[in-house]
Amino acid sequence: MRSEASTPVVKKLWLHDILETERCIIKIPQESEAEYMWNLITEDTTKYMIWDKWDDFSRTVKNITETRENAQAWKSWDAAIYDKQTERCIGRCGINKIDDNVPSFELGYWICEAYYGKWIMPECVKAYLRFAFEDSSFEKGVIRCNSENENSKKVALKCGFSYEWTFKNHERIRWELRDTSFYGITREEYFKSK
């Protein structure tokens, strides 16, 4: 584990890396899981997202191929969450935007309806924070969510993020303009809250 005062080394996550929590395994998915993953995506899981439920699972295959390419190039590490008991994929949680200059990262996530209310996501987000601040030398983490997505905001707050700002009219979801709320956690805040 890296102490706060030591020289920064940005450790990266690669294609075959794994993060582990008490109940889950987080790793990059494979194309062969596309159909199963596509079936997890419902109208409710995508309610606050800019992407709709995909028409057919070929788009999920394409998404997984891109995910794997991006993980190989450290452009993102957009992993899938697997339930340790069933070994089945139950959602996604990943680093979508990496700024190597700060260095900072942005987390994005969703979970299938069957796992709502089980507090799986805070467990996964905390695994990313451990990696980013303890194993690596990130300075800042960001979660951005649709301003109406109360569950996503709760995850951010439960994991020690603070509200930073709201981007008005940020993006269109099903043609309607929506605001986006930004939550952030700094390295100092992470270690203080431990």
Binding site: V102, F167, N169, F182, G184
Partner: protein
């Protein structure tokens, strides 16, 4: 939807915003001193050749619909600063504006004057829904522009970027079309 092109210009009472010419390079270079570049992620350029290259890249980006890299000229044709306006794609509803102005032209409110006119064009002709500014919290002059142009402080992103080896926060200011119309 209207877009801004290479030969378009935006007129204000005292200024004209238009795309820089290669021949402006020396004049622009003379405007950039340590104070002007203090809050920016670029240093004072060593010679005007760098500026010429930037202007050429800027013109290419206008052709490619990426940015509208306008220069600010006084009515007598003197170049005094720069204004960046992103080009708008069909799905773009919000734009971020950047600007700087040569030190000898500070305190004459040229930037708020240009900003007001850009707001008019953006909200009435380009169908923009929100304009926002990202401001270094120590950049008091830029904050004054935001306030004078009726932008609202929306919050601060901590450790937003690294400039000259220092991690800095960013304050966000914005104005929506709805607020503008009010």
């Amino acid at each position: 939807m209207k877009k801004l092109w290479l030969h378009d210009s935006i007129e204000t009472e005292r200024c004209t915003l238009k795309i820089a010419e290669e021949s402006d390079a020396y004049e622009v270079w003379k405007l950039i001193d340590e104070d002007v570049s203090y809050f920016m992620d670029w240093e004072k350029w060593e010679n005007h050749e760098h500026i010429r290259q930037t202007i050429l890249k800027g013109r290419k980006r206008v052709e490619d619909w990426l940015w509208w890299y306008a220069m600010v000229y006084l009515k007598d044709g003197t170049c005094i600063g720069r204004f960046w306006i992103p080009q708008l794609y069909d799905k773009t509803d919000n734009i971020e504006i950047w600007f700087w102005i040569g030190k000898k032209h500070w305190w004459q409110w040229y930037i708020p004057e240009c900003f007001e006119r850009v707001k008019e064009v953006a909200f009435n002709e380009l169908w923009v829904e929100t304009i926002h500014l990202t401001v270094n919290p120590l950049n008091i002059n830029c904050k004054k522009v935001a306030v004078k142009c009726w932008l609202t402080y929306e919050g601060t992103l901590r450790k937003w970027e690294k400039i000259k080896w220092k991690l800095i926060d960013a304050e966000f200011y914005s104005i929506t079309k709805e607020d503008y119309k009010k």
